[in-house]
Symmetry: C2
Subunit: 332 residues, 2 copies
């Protein structure tokens, strides 16, 4: 070897060691929007436990399934579920074609912005509004309508598009889990086609990893071309005990990590964490009125009572948005 | 550089070129069980078209979704759907607990092996048998029962386990598509939990890429542990116009390739191939009585009439099992 070759090899080795040293020394925190503390430690410890080859709690990548509620877990849900805001806007847009709505509840309340009457109409009333405002459209048309709305509508308090009201710490967490071989799924009470319209862009979650509530679909030909038309009939409600059912229908295996924020997620967390091995259940607790909202036991949207009462005994992590999160929404 | 260094580099380069030459020269045929001919050419041409970067028909990997019917497309389906054979065996196993079945149709016919009466009971009668034989079990129990049955039951004509009656050319095709960036899905009229019990082992298709018919599931606690129990009520029938619906519910996007063998797959092929761009629709035609079975227009299982009539006009490939396939099932 000539001295020049030796020099080249030595230089190359130095660069390699330098890079290696930098990558160890400066290893980036994968969760920079999470404050140091027990919540962050437990999440990271779980991920390290299930990914450590040869460890007691190792889980093969094929079984690393993590499920996330959406409303209140991945983005805000106050002062009302964002899909309900969409449905109310849509009722207003469709009102000229439905003069009968002016005197028919719950549409009258929707048109007048009478939230009290609307709330009193309960789940049935809300489903009526969702069905009326979503049905008749093909799946392609519906996706376009949702995308248009998301591009133009603004949240009253924050003045930002709804898709900017995702939680930065959770978006980081999704990426961190995927970087560790997890498949990340949304399992939401919201409508599956509504979610799919933004889940890829907002969360990096493709349409086939979104589970949600759904309307019946009808296959038909329009102008000789096949379409799938949303029917005014609920096919599936992906909430409460429906969440483990929705998980089984779509995924066919039990997750090892589940993230929720309300009692609608209770059974999903229970289903996920009641087998042996390292399992992770996380409840996002909305306790930050200054930066977002503070609510739990008495909220009409995202009510959380049983989850708070039983989290400690069940080993679930309760994340305080106020204390555990450095940021809430993505910076402007 | 000393002469020894030069020699080493030269030797290394020679090895590299030699390997490269071999890998070009000996590039393995990805579909060795397919005879040369128009069917094979069209499948390969499609895959090359959608994977050629910069080509007119290029499709991004994220949208390379291929859907496969199972019965008659990925494995045999004669003299009856294999899941029906399973259900009949299960009715026999459960009969001691159901003395009333001895005199009650369609169970009486099932117990007596009276296929004529069973056939006359139609879809409703078959669903009754499937519901009675599948319901009451948890999803975990059901998977275990199916796996036990698959391990012990033998096909009457071939004397082999049913999982050995998958089609070797189609198993090759699944692997070929995945090697080209496709996500491969089963979209079957068969029961989703029945399919999941063997799809990973037989086809390399994970549970979350299986779409099928399903029973209602109920979430409940047994001995303090949550379970999902199969109910005696059909939730969804994934057949005919139900197939595009099942695809949208589970995948949320339109496939670019679809493979079927009966008129139950017609709408799935229509849905897949009626957009612009390179699209592939394939019908497996059972015309090989010697090696498997020959049937189409008059078969109670896997009836194929409209598909045959319209395939040419719609540009669908009709695969002759007799002429296009070198092998049918995997070698013993």
């Amino acid at each position: 070897m000539t001295s020049r070759t030796v020099a080249r090899v030595a230089f190359g080795t130095a660069i390699a060691w330098l890079s290696l040293g930098l990558s160890f020394g400066q290893r980036a925190d994968p969760l920079p929007s999470w404050n140091a503390g027990a919540s962050k430690d437990r999440v990271v410890a779980f991920v390290e436990a299930v990914t450590t080859v040869g460890g007691r709690d190792f889980v093969a990548p094929v079984d690393r399934v993590a499920v996330f509620d959406n409303d209140g877990t991945l983005w805000s849900e106050q002062p009302m579920y964002f899909q309900l805001a969409f449905a109310l806007d849509r009722v207003k847009a469709l009102a000229p074609k439905h003069p009968e709505w002016k005197s028919k509840q719950p549409f009258k309340a929707a048109l007048e912005g009478d939230m009290k009457t609307l709330a009193a109409a309960g789940e049935h009333g809300l489903l009526e509004i969702v069905a009326a405002s979503h049905a008749g459209l093909t799946t392609d048309e519906f996706a376009a309508v949702v995308k248009d709305w998301l591009a133009t509508a603004r949240h009253a308090r924050f003045g930002r598009p709804y898709t900017e009201l995702t939680f930065a710490p959770m978006v980081e967490l999704l990426a961190y889990l995927r970087a560790n071989g997890f498949e990340t799924w949304i399992v939401s009470g919201g409508g599956v086609e509504f979610l799919r319209a933004f889940a890829a862009g907002a969360y990096g979650i493709p349409p086939q990893q979104v589970v949600g509530s759904s309307l019946e679909l009808k296959y038909e030909l329009r102008g000789g071309k096949p379409v799938l038309v949303q029917q005014p009939k609920v096919a599936f409600i992906d909430d409460k005990a429906g969440k483990p059912v929705g998980i089984q229908k779509a995924i066919g295996k039990r997750p090892i990590a589940a993230f929720g924020n309300s009692d609608g997620d209770f059974q999903m967390l229970e289903w996920t964490t009641s087998t042996s091995g390292a399992r992770l259940g996380v409840i996002v607790h909305h306790d930050d009125a200054a930066r977002e909202y503070a609510y739990d036991r008495k909220s009409p949207f995202g009510r959380l009572a049983r989850g708070l009462d039983e989290a400690a005994a069940r080993g679930w992590v309760v994340v305080s948005m106020k204390d555990d999160w450095r940021a809430i929404h993505a910076p402007r």
